[in-house]
């Protein structure tokens, strides 16, 4: 983990309520796809956890949805603004078990971490399929970016206004794949858990006090014992998951 100051380079709308922010700073502690950063915002006591969407030599990309006061504050930032970030948080996805034809499955703002993951898998010569799920056509983002990486990209929309009608699992059902990686709202994760024909990895969200393992605010129970989503997570393997309730 590293605490350092990043500078906003770009902050633009992808859809009516989803923004992309590019920041420059010390990215050396970001070591795996699926890790997150914890962002300090002026006037807010707790930091905001946001997944790494992409990272390249000194440039960090995050994608966030405006859901409250903190993300609204972020949306108003302009290039040159400085942000205090904790980077290199969480375990991230384990690529070593992907097999040759993994599928990455993102839902809504669970799509961003799939981007860097797909990029890393492709650079290892894997044949990657991306299933990106949205509610409707005007909520879709990053379709072309995934295609540009060289992923076979399938979009699903709940209302059928674009791509496959239905949920990500409707696209997953008839697909052949060696392994899966997923991030999205918990109901989607549960559906993927039931629908998937292979093992895979899931990224979870929890309310966080610290984001680096100090407060036990984010704990969950797993088959192999209690885990902190911010430290032993956010990525859990399928075999480890105990759904609450």
């Amino acid at each position: 983990m590293k605490q350092s100051i990043f500078t906003v380079k770009e902050n633009r709308k992808l859809t009516s309520d989803v923004m992309l922010m590019r920041l420059s700073g010390d990215t050396s502690h970001i070591t795996a796809a699926g890790q997150f950063v914890n962002v300090k915002l002026d006037g807010f006591y707790l930091r905001r956890p946001i997944s790494v969407c992409d990272v390249e030599e000194g440039i960090l990309t995050v994608i966030y949805k405006n859901v409250g006061k903190g993300t609204d504050y972020m949306a108003a930032l302009t290039p040159g603004a400085e942000l205090d970030l904790l980077t290199g948080l969480g375990n991230g996805y384990d690529l070593s078990v992907s097999g040759n034809s993994p599928v990455v499955i993102g839902g809504g703002v669970g799509v961003p971490p799939m981007y860097n993951l797909a990029k890393r898998l492709i650079s290892q010569g894997k044949e990657v399929t991306a299933i990106l799920g949205f509610n409707k056509k005007d909520e879709i983002f990053f379709e072309n970016e995934f295609k540009a990486l060289g992923c076979k990209t399938v979009i699903t929309t709940v209302d059928g206004s674009y791509g496959v009608k239905g949920f990500v699992t409707d696209a997953l059902r008839d697909m052949d794949y060696s392994y899966f990686y997923t991030c999205g709202p918990e109901p989607m994760l549960k559906a993927v858990y039931r629908a998937a024909s292979t093992s895979g990895q899931f990224s979870f969200e929890r309310r966080m006090g610290c984001g680096f393992g100090a407060c036990m605010g984010c704990s969950c129970k797993t088959i192999t014992g209690n885990k902190r989503i911010c430290k032993e997570g956010p990525v859990l393997v399928k075999e480890d998951i105990l759904w609450e309730e």
Binding site: L46, G209, M216, C218
Partner: protein, 303 residues
């Protein structure tokens, strides 16, 4: 003794800055970031007789100038703390550590304390009779002078180490509870634990925390803590450890002027992992600014 050192219940510490229980784990996350031997000491995660998972999620909520938590004393249980956490800690921390103990019954407090009493690394036992996030026990011991005295007496009987009773602010007369602990043999008092609070999510119209209520901490509670430390330290003759919202070297000095011999830092560690390091490094300059030669000279200076 350096100009920042203080004597806390018979153990001299290099400076009065102590990370508070529950916000510093067992130290290792922070040891990766800086040398935690620069601390006066730290208070480790509240330890109970049996392993505990704690409360369901969400356990954390934000507030203006602070946070709510309803972790509910997640810890691996005293046996594992002794067999796993302390040996790991010994590699990175070479000072006496403060052991924070919780319980749901008198004999749980005495069981955990008598086990930790045998650990050479443990300097003080900080006995939490003030956790608002567990049901049955916890805070209820800290809300009546008789119960607080009973826990103090029972724990004192099983340990030779200094016993610091950690009090709840969720009471109408904090002074009477502190006095009861002192009369029952406590070597020190620490306060405050978190304030019982709640928040509601406007969208779902439900409490934000799964536990419904949680404990408020952070800068929002600082003036309350200063007031309680002032009132208690004016009355008792044992050292008081002041905490609640401390986030800067200035806050440490204010807390000491209110009557604290040492000062704990809680939630601040969560939002700024370097909070304690920065506070300790800033203290000398802030002392100079207010013409303070030795920190111990200002304890209770506002009385």
């Amino acid at each position: 003794m350096g100009r920042m050192s203080v004597n806390l219940c018979g153990i001299v510490i290099d400076n009065p800055v102590i990370p508070a229980s529950g916000t510093y784990g067992f130290g290792y996350e922070f040891a990766e970031l800086y040398d935690i031997n620069m601390l006066g000491t730290f208070s480790f995660k509240g330890t109970t007789s049996q392993p505990r998972f704690g409360n369901p999620s969400p356990r954390i909520a934000e507030t203006p100038s602070g946070m709510l938590n309803a972790v509910g004393l997640q810890n691996p249980g005293v046996e594992k703390v002794i067999s796993e956490e302390l040996p790991k800690l010994a590699k990175v921390f070479h000072k006496p550590v403060m052991a924070n103990v919780s319980g749901f019954a008198l004999d749980e407090y005495t069981e955990v304390c008598s086990k930790l009493d045998k650990e050479p690394m443990v300097g003080w036992l900080e006995v939490n009779i003030s956790c608002p996030n567990v049901h049955g026990g916890g805070m209820s011991f800290g809300t009546s002078p008789e119960q607080a005295a009973a826990v103090t007496k029972a724990v004192k009987a099983v340990t030779a180490k200094p016993v610091i009773m950690k009090l709840s602010p969720n009471v109408t007369d904090i002074v009477s509870i502190a006095k009861a602990c002192e009369e029952a043999g406590a070597d020190g008092i620490s306060l405050i634990n978190t304030m019982l609070s709640m928040r509601i999510d406007l969208k779902s119209r439900k409490p934000l925390l799964a536990n419904i209520t949680g404990g408020l901490s952070g800068p929002a509670v600082f003036p309350i803590a200063v007031r309680m430390v002032y009132q208690v330290s004016k009355t008792v003759n044992i050292p008081v450890v002041g905490l609640g919202g401390v986030s800067s070297a200035q806050d440490v000095i204010e807390m000491m002027m209110a009557g604290a011999t040492a000062v704990q830092v809680g939630a601040a560690n969560l939002v700024n992992p370097f909070a304690c390091k920065e506070i300790i490094e800033n203290l000398p300059a802030v002392m100079d600014k207010y013409e303070i030669e030795n920190l111990k000279d200002i304890i209770g200076g506002a009385h």
